[in-house]
């Protein structure tokens, strides 16, 4: 049983290696960001399995990683475009913008 879980963890780390390869090659910035998101998800999977193997202490760490993985992508989106990538509240008023109703 524990051998199987170790095997699964190794498989997850293999999937992590695939993500790192994408980070290395990824033509667009968005590809690298996706790989970072994959690393976060794989990390959560590994931590959950480690929690099963040990005394369930790693479960809180997995929870924390689940929360923080999204923050990196949000940081990337905010960095990609200062006005928040089409954030309705902040972006310049365009033709389709019905915010104030006059148009």
């Amino acid at each position: 049983m524990t051998f199987w879980l170790h095997l699964i963890i190794l498989g997850l780390l293999g999937s992590l290696a695939g993500a790192l390869w994408r980070v290395w090659v990824g033509p667009a910035q968005a590809d690298r960001m996706m790989a970072a998101q994959l690393i976060g998800t794989t990390g959560i999977g590994v931590l959950v399995l480690l929690a099963v193997l040990q005394d369930w202490a790693a479960l809180t760490v997995a929870l924390a990683l689940a929360l923080l993985a999204a923050m990196a992508a949000i940081g990337f989106v905010k960095a990609a475009s200062s006005d928040g990538a089409g954030d309705p509240e902040e972006c310049a008023p365009g033709p389709t913008d019905a915010r104030d109703g006059q148009r």
């Binding site: 590809d31 099963v52 993985a69």
Partner: protein, 98 residues
């Protein structure tokens, strides 16, 4: 729920979870453009994580661990959904500008 059955369930479920994770990673590597990669990555990995969490749930001793596992998966789903939308929108903007 005899001990053996829980172990078998964990083994099967974590195996399926790993298969979906590898499918997501192969999709991330092989797909031609940004959006299909994003699509493959977000869906396959969260399903893989769901199966792994389900497999781990069979080993849980008391319900607080089950609640935490469920919370982890729910948060991962929420995070992946919003992140996929945001990254796709950012990628669309960048492509439009290039």
């Amino acid at each position: 729920m005899p001990e053996g059955l829980a172990d078998i369930a964990t083994i099967v479920l974590t195996g399926i979870g790993l298969v979906f994770f590898l499918a997501g990673t192969v999709g991330l590597i092989r797909f031609p453009d940004v959006f299909s990669r994003l699509h493959a990555l977000t869906k396959a990995d969260n399903l893989g994580l769901g199966f792994i969490v389900l497999g781990a749930g069979f080993q849980a001793d008391d319900w607080t661990q089950l609640a935490k596992l469920g919370l982890i998966w729910a948060l991962a789903l929420l995070a992946a959904g919003t992140v996929a939308q945001l990254v796709a929108r950012a990628a669309l903007r960048q492509e439009g500008r290039e």
